[in-house]
């Protein structure tokens, strides 16, 4: 009910949001996410099906540039997970990612 309520609310902004719903109860959940190529994915923290069929680690592996918004209705919190994928040519590349530029 929670996820559907959020989808219903987002559906009121279709002029600005290209909304696609993916059922987390299906084993093809991850494939559908990959196919949709979203810029943002909204997930419910308490949805056991997400953990089962499309866990965060696999979502990030499938869509490495995506922003994941995890909604926690119990605590009224929104956890934003951003991701970017970079290639490493040499170990120094890792150091440069960790340290601030300067």
């Amino acid at each position: 009910m929670f996820s559907e309520g959020i989808a219903s609310r987002l559906g009121q902004h279709l002029d600005r949001i290209d909304l696609e719903l993916v059922d987390s109860r299906g084993s093809d959940c991850l494939a559908k996410i990959r196919e949709a190529k979203p810029a943002v994915i909204v997930l419910e923290v308490n949805d056991e099906n997400v953990e089962r069929f499309c866990p965060l680690s696999e979502i990030l592996a499938a869509t490495p540039e995506v922003k994941v918004i995890r909604l926690d209705p119990d605590f009224d919190r929104i956890h934003v997970v951003t991701s970017e994928l970079r290639s490493v040519n040499e170990p120094a590349d890792l150091i440069s990612m960790l340290l601030p530029p300067g």
Partner: protein, 213 residues
């Protein structure tokens, strides 16, 4: 149907409001605590309050009890994550017209809200079974002190136990829906039950009839 939504989780509440409005219900207000729920219900006089149980300032159960005393015509349905039988039983005993778990799908939720308009209790079959089991485990009331139901009322209550709606019962007994409502009111009064499910549980416990199974 005019609805007030009371839930301290704003994300969830907003989603519920959106679902209700999309389904054509009129949401007259939304509040985030039990005290505000009572105040808003008394001011707005909605047909239905969807009430979370755990809320700040005043619990949903206490808000329900206050509304039962001060605005008995306002129906209250609990909308909760609580699986505790004690919350379920306390809600029904305090006059709630239903008990909806937040894990239900939007379609199930909206069907239950629509069912209220047909005089149905807003709860899943699973919740109804828990309620009956909970009530059934309590000591049986003294039969010699309990008003007797007429054969017609027992017949009707058996159909209620089978899950039939007022309309279906009216068809089965070849009477009007208003007659069915009249009988049900009498049954609830005689058995001192808050709703149909509780009446069935009382009747089963008192041995007025037995289930088919």
């Amino acid at each position: 149907m005019r609805i007030l939504v009371a839930d301290d989780h704003s994300l969830f509440r907003d989603g519920v409001v959106s679902l209700l409005e999309a389904a054509g219900f009129e949401v007259v207000g939304q509040v985030g605590d039990g005290l505000a729920a009572v105040e808003a219900a008394l001011a707005l006089r909605p047909d239905l309050v969807l009430m979370d149980i755990t809320m700040p300032k005043l619990s949903g159960l206490e808000a329900l009890r206050q509304l039962r005393d001060e605005a008995p015509e306002v129906q209250v349905v609990m909308l909760t994550v609580s699986d505790q039988d004690s919350d379920l039983l306390a809600s029904i005993r305090s006059g709630a017209k239903g008990y909806i778990h937040k894990s239900l799908s939007a379609q199930e939720f909206l069907e239950m809200i629509s069912g209220l308009e047909r005089g149905e209790a807003a709860m899943s079959r699973k919740t109804a079974a828990r309620l009956i089991a909970g009530l059934g485990s309590e000591p049986a009331p003294r039969l010699d002190k309990q008003p007797r139901l007429t054969p017609r009322e027992i017949e009707l209550l058996e159909l209620v136990a089978d899950g039939l709606s007022n309309k279906a019962i009216a068809q089965a007994l070849s009477v009007s829906e208003n007659t069915v409502k009249y009988h049900i009111r009498n049954i609830l009064q005689k058995l001192e039950a808050q709703n149909r499910t509780e009446a069935v549980a009382h009747a089963l416990r008192a041995g007025l009839f037995k289930t088919a199974s």
